[in-house]
Structures are given as C-alpha cells and as structure tokens.
Symmetry: C2
C-alpha cells in the first residue's frame, strides 16, 4: 500500500527522511492529479516510476480552478479506488490533502502567463489557469520533486506549467506524457464518466475529426482555416453536440497558427450534452 | 573573499556541493539585493549570518521591476565596492548574474497579490510588484534558501513576499529586518545617493513627520485621517518637496486603516526634487 498523507507537514517530513535515508541522492517523481484515476494517469505513473526512485501522487480536487456553475461539486471522487490503483501501480506516496490543509487562508496570489492563461480554455474558464498555476506551484513547493508528469491531453495546462517553470527557474523537470485513448479513440478523462451511452458515441466525433484534420494536412493542405473548418463541421454534424467552444491550431509555444506545420496542435473544446470535453491532436506527416 | 558567481548553473552546483559536504544539514540564508550596498543591507547580512551556516547575497538590478521613465539606467552600481563590503561582512557566496542569465527569454509570467500589488506603490508603479515577485521567486528557486531577509524599509514589498510565500507554500522562512536610519533619521536607501545636500535636508522631513505621527498617536488620536494629514502637511511645507505620491496607514495584513491601533504602519512616498523616496513607520505607544 502506498503511504497516505493528508497533512502538508507530514508528507514533507516523510519525504525529507526518505530522501536523507538515501543520502539525498534519491530522485522524486511527482504526478499531480484530481483523482478518479484512469489509464491516462496510470501512464503518467508508469513513466514516473521508470525515471525516479520515489513516486509521489497527489489527489486533490482543487476548488480554485473551477469556475462558478462548473462541475466542482459533482466532479467524481473515489479515494479508496484511487488508492487501490496506486498500490497496483507501485506508487510510494499518496498525498490527498483536505481543503483546510491546502488553503488555510483564501489565497490572494494570482498567476498568469501572457498568451496562455486567457486564451482558448482560459477565455471560457476565466480563473481556471490561475487556480491551476497556484495549486501546481504550491504542490511543487511541498513535494519538491525532481520531475513532474503532465498529460498532453490538457495541452494548454502543460504549456502553462512549462512556461511557469522556465520563467521562475523552478528546479523541476516537466515530463509530458502522450494522451491515452480508448480503443475507439476517445481520450481518457475522469469527466467521461458523465457521458450517457449515446453521448459517448457522439463524443467519438472529436477523435474522428482529428483523423480528418490529419488527412488534410498529409494531403498538403496547410491552411489552418481549412483544417479548423473541417474539424468543426464534422463534429457539429453529430447529435448531442450542444456547442463547440473553440477549434484552434497552435504551435509548441502556443502561438496561434495560420499556416500549419508538422508538430502543431489542433485543440478543441466541445459540449456533449452537459459535459464539456477537451482534446487535442498533434499534426504530423505520419499515417495514423 | 566571497565566492562570486555570474551563472545560474554554477551557483546552483556550488551550493549543492556545499550542502552535501555538510551532510545536507547546513542552513542557507539569502539576502537578495540590487547592490550598491549600505548599512541597511549590512543589517540583513548580519542577521542572516547569525541564523545560518551559509550566507548568500544576490546583486542584481532587475529591469522588470522598473517602469518606463524610472531610474533603471541611472540606478547606482558598483560591484567591486559591494564585493569588498560582502567580504568585510563575511558573506560566503555572491550571486551577481547577467540579464541573459536571469532572463534567457522575456518572461510571460505575471504574479499579483490582490490588495497589495496594485495599491500605493503598485498604483504609482504599475508593473513594479510583478517584477519583484518574479525575480524573488526565481532567486528562491535558484538559491533554495532556508531563510530569506527583507528590510522593513520596503514594507509593501515585504508584505507581498510574505503573502506569496504563504499562498504558494514556499519552503523558506521570511525574516523581516527593521529599517536602518542615518543619525539624523533618514532611512538608508541606495537612492539617497541621488540627493543634493539641500534636498537631503528636506528629505529629513519624512522622518520628522513620523515623529509627529507617533506623538499624535501616543496622545490618543487614533483617527488615520488626522495622522495622515499631519504627516502630509509637515512634509509638504519643506523646499524641494515636489510631490507626495501617498500617505497611508495600513495594518500588518496591509489593510488600509481608518481607526489606527498599535503596530499599524504609516507609509509615504515623496518626490524630493527628481528623487522618489519611500519610507514607513510603525506606530506604537513607546517613546521615540
């Protein structure tokens, strides 16, 4: 069983003694999550275990990164199941703090990255990335990992964290991990649990639209406008698609592209019924 | 002579080996400065040396915390003199990085603390505290000190840093150090070097206005309005006083006060000729 901590000071002192027992040469890898773990998280943990002596997973549904009217209350939670999965995966330490531990006082600190925090996801979820930045940096300061693992599924979040870490010279290596998809292509997400069966069917249009985008790109069409329209058109043709918040193409530095080149990402946010899904796809010349 | 480093990776690896040579039990104290050291800095260093095994001083005039039209270019610099003073004071490590080392790319990260970043100093110097927050957190991440020392002279900056450290759970203890004053009461500042003789005489009105404030408070007047007016009136009566940016009274949490109690601070920013000076005073029942 991984050792479970609920208090900041306890996990800190445990990690400190663990480190010093290894002559302070043990590397610590860190996987921050909101729990309700799935195979996507397991990929992060697997990579973390490969690269580090100690693997720490945090489980915390961070209220600050949810907006008003969002799904903070109904976000799925199941600590026992998560702990069992962590045990199965060989996680060493689970840190699952209470709100009072994380925010003994309401934070007044706001952290933004220009060009990332307020566009796309950040435009539709105004305080989301400030909440993400705060909790991730805070967890870095508590765990002090050598490496931290983030899924490419939340591509904008990944770019935010990478930029924060560079701008602030955080002594942590950010390791991106490719999105894990179900056999039918649906990107794994704890929020998939909200989908009714027929909605799930419609949600597959997201992945399939990426295949169309990829096909266009491989055929030599590098106009972002064309690719985005094809994606949007394809998805919107499906039932239960209530709204498409955005379809955009950005490069590795999160610049919005007009002419697309290999490695650029198609990013989408789609409402399937009452469920908001995000996903993204790296355009390449490879066959899918 | 303290060991001088100009590169991030060099100071990091030196401190790492220094720490591990002491079985990772050596404490590191950190004094961030913009150089052109004076007795105020020496107080920070003295306290740092008392409380830590290793004392690190950084010397860096951070362009990001200067606004347009401010004194970034003419800010006094004298590394040789600073190094000699650091040697005299027994500093172990001086980190004096180049701009390219600190900002290999233009940072996109903006950090604000609500209720602190944009009031008083922050209202008159709009990007100042975002620049301060960025460089201080960055230096914390590079040096990874156990304790860091800040003068109360820059009271708003001290409150900003304390709040950031709390909100972000930085593993560093912030140690405030009382303002050092010349015999005649002028708070020490590298910017005092800008003052012509007669201007310096007028600048003493700031300290003297604090004595008036203190006298009023001790006499039982707890109306912030009265105390602020007395301070403003007294200072403005002096020659070379070009403008008073603000006179305000705040509590330890930087809330603006109407009814004053012991421990509250009078904060002022005054232009003496072309020199902008800030200073503050803790109101108490003690005789001065």
């Amino acid at each position: 069983m991984p050792t479970l901590f609920r208090k900041v000071k306890d996990v800190k002192s445990y990690l400190k003694s663990l480190r010093s027992s290894g002559g302070n040469n043990l590397s610590v890898g860190f996987v921050p999550t909101m729990g309700y773990l799935h195979e996507g998280h397991m990929e992060l943990i697997k990579k973390c275990k490969l690269q580090n002596d100690i693997t720490v997973v945090s489980i915390y549904v961070n209220p600050l990164q949810f907006g008003e009217g969002e799904d903070y209350q109904k976000y799925p939670r199941d600590l026992e199941r998560d702990l069992a999965m962590c045990q199965e995966a060989g996680v060493d330490v689970v840190f699952a703090p209470t709100d009072e531990e994380v925010y003994p006082q309401v934070p007044k600190t706001k952290i933004h990255v220009e060009g990332i925090s307020h566009v796309l996801e950040g435009a539709f979820r105004p305080n989301h990335f400030s909440g993400v930045a705060l909790i991730v940096l805070k967890l870095f300061n508590i765990i002090q990992p050598d490496r931290a693992y983030f899924g490419e599924k939340d591509f904008q979040q990944l770019k935010l964290i990478q930029r924060l870490v560079n701008d602030l010279s955080y002594p942590v290596e950010i390791v991106p991990v490719p999105t894990v998809r179900d056999k039918d292509g649906l990107a794994l997400s704890s929020r998939n649990t909200y989908l009714k069966e027929q909605e799930r069917e419609s949600a597959l249009s997201i992945y399939r639209s990426f295949l169309i985008a990829q096909k266009l790109f491989r055929a030599g069409n590098t106009k972002a406008q064309d690719i985005k329209e094809a994606v949007r058109d394809y998805i919107s043709r499906h039932p239960h698609v209530k709204r498409i918040d955005y379809v955009e193409i950005v490069d590795e530095d999160f610049n919005i592209k007009e002419e697309v080149s290999e490695g650029d990402r198609v990013l989408v946010a789609v409402w399937i019924g009452d469920t908001r899904l995000i996903d993204n796809w790296r355009l390449s010349y490879e066959e899918v």
